[in-house]
Symmetry: C2
Subunit: 414 residues, 2 copies
Amino acid sequence: MKRAAIATIGNELLQGQILNANCQYIANQVQGFAMDIALAISLPDEIDAIANRLKPLFDEVDALLITGGLGPTLDDVTTEAIAKAAGLPLVQDEIELEKLKQKLSEKNLALNQYNLKQIFFPQGAAPLDNHLGTAPGFYLNLNGCHLFCLPGVPSEMKAIFQTQFIKTLEELCGRVAQKELIIKTINFSESGLTAQIVSSRIVQGYFWSSIPSAEGVSIKIRLKDFNAPENEVVRLKKAFSELLGDAIYGYDNQTLQETVKQLAVSRRFTIACAESCTGGFLGKTLTDMPGSSAFFLGGVVAYSDEIKTKLLHVRSETLELYGAVSEQCARTMAQRCQELFKADFAVSITGIAGPSGGSTEKPVGTVCFSLITKDKIITSYKRLFAGSREDIREKSVYHAMNYLRLAMMNHSVC
Amino acid sequence: MKRAAIATIGNELLQGQILNANCQYIANQVQGFAMDIALAISLPDEIDAIANRLKPLFDEVDALLITGGLGPTLDDVTTEAIAKAAGLPLVQDEIELEKLKQKLSEKNLALNQYNLKQIFFPQGAAPLDNHLGTAPGFYLNLNGCHLFCLPGVPSEMKAIFQTQFIKTLEELCGRVAQKELIIKTINFSESGLTAQIVSSRIVQGYFWSSIPSAEGVSIKIRLKDFNAPENEVVRLKKAFSELLGDAIYGYDNQTLQETVKQLAVSRRFTIACAESCTGGFLGKTLTDMPGSSAFFLGGVVAYSDEIKTKLLHVRSETLELYGAVSEQCARTMAQRCQELFKADFAVSITGIAGPSGGSTEKPVGTVCFSLITKDKIITSYKRLFAGSREDIREKSVYHAMNYLRLAMMNHSVC
């Protein structure tokens, strides 16, 4: 296995203004190759800070991916810092100068000291064409460490990554068929799932780990033969399936959304939803994927009790007797939603997302769900979720999606 | 200025499975203190990798914030790695043992070797109470380097951060009145905004930068006097306000959601929405904040054309003549939404989020909006957004929120 490091440059990363999506993108892309990411580092827009942290990595890793700080403004110092770390002078590239003049003239902009800075590179570097912006990236081979320096604008970074870096990765270490198998589960606690897996001994001898998220707990198993993983994968999937049954909703990068979509589309089911505390979050999640109009009809967000009564026909007696956060209310919401949308499956969510609004009887995190099937079989249940408002809403959305998944799975195909 | 480093531990970060939201959260929280983040590093779940990278930082920084790898499973090795780096033995904490037994018995779970691991700490460390999960964090003073080790589960990390780390930050370096001013704008391109700001010379002599996001472009200006910034802030805000007018929707950490909420709550306006391509994303965003029931009544997600006709009374002639993605359709959606919800303001979104479904006349990214005010004044407009399905949906949501903001701002208070 080759080893790589990712360095993302920019004060905005160290001041928490933006999420480091570039780092995730690069790490994710490298997964298909015989290369591991040994570390990822974020550094400020300061020449010495960048030079001093990156220099030791030149000897440590086979590839170094750097993004950010190639722009025209005064705080963009990455090129200078790399030249300093590598002990190389900066030289102007005549071909890139012509390209830059061309790009600027197309936009009726003048060449100035700021954009001129962008065509200086460490001696020996090969510029990497950036057809989306003015800042070219560059490639430098430092005694076998393949250094790629890319702009921080995500679309420009991705374009250069795909056209230039992937090629180098292929030459350097080659693709692998599959490095790991991920088993995605819902409705388990991390420690409970771990205990079950350990006592079953199905992954004995494997390096494996569990990753909790709002969607559920994922089990990640490092495969033994990256290049011919088929038998291993089949065997592991079978063993996990016997152990965990329908708590498994997918493998590898498959999301719960995708599973729900696949089930609905393949069985030609339609879905609608009635939401209260999630405010549209379930509808949003079901439509994150392209092609969701094939199964998703729409929903009602009944945030106020008046709307629950008016649009979803929840009786005021129900609200008075049981409250808006009750299985009774959830049932009417699901029923009326199915009628309104003429959907095969309708699911409802009503709960207390907090931070206020809880009581001893119904603490913050209490969420009721109901689902009605194509055959008009209606069920409901109540859950208590821990965490912040955001956590409770997110967990509610995934619970409702899983409710839909199980109902569709267990429903005979029409 | 004191210096801190953030270390986030977990293979999932280096394999691109999750976004590093913990790092952003911590970096953002530290902004209010006389402390800069010198670097942020992500490391795999490997004892030596963690120990070797962190050890040199003990002498370099005043505070080291570590998250992740405190869980009960075999790959959770952060505590062990820190003990190794610090040259300290691991010792069991009797008080935490009792707490753990208590927590497990409440959940009817048994004490096993996996969760028992979580109550071992480097000698001299003080456990940090985690009331949301089973893994306590811990604090260690290593010759003046304040090391905080927190669980990776975001809600648990945040809770311990707020109750324990903030106190240390206050003692260690104190709060600063304000390090920087952020001007948040919508409806500008980054280069267009930069050109305007440069030619206005209002930030000459300042270190400033621009940060683009789906919400708009933020301008960040490093202040000259952190401890008495009042006059500077007033002067800069006034200059920007004269330059950019109502394209500014907030300052510093204020989000567009908060601005909309503040306007609605202070003027006692109610809001409802009718969504198509965003599928509930606008309702979700408006209810992200606690207390949104004070102004948000609910919405209709009319993803299918049938529902647009049935629930929102869009005439089939309108759909045939102009299509579902038209200002005409958007207007009826907003109008009917206002009637249904009896809302003061109703806004609608209908568009083509892609990646398929576009045409020459209406390419992917075409989105129509309409808004009706308390006085029944209805307006609409069409936009063409670039980017992925996710980008288009996100930009649509922020546009609709800004539409609401401008309409409420310009509306006389009732």
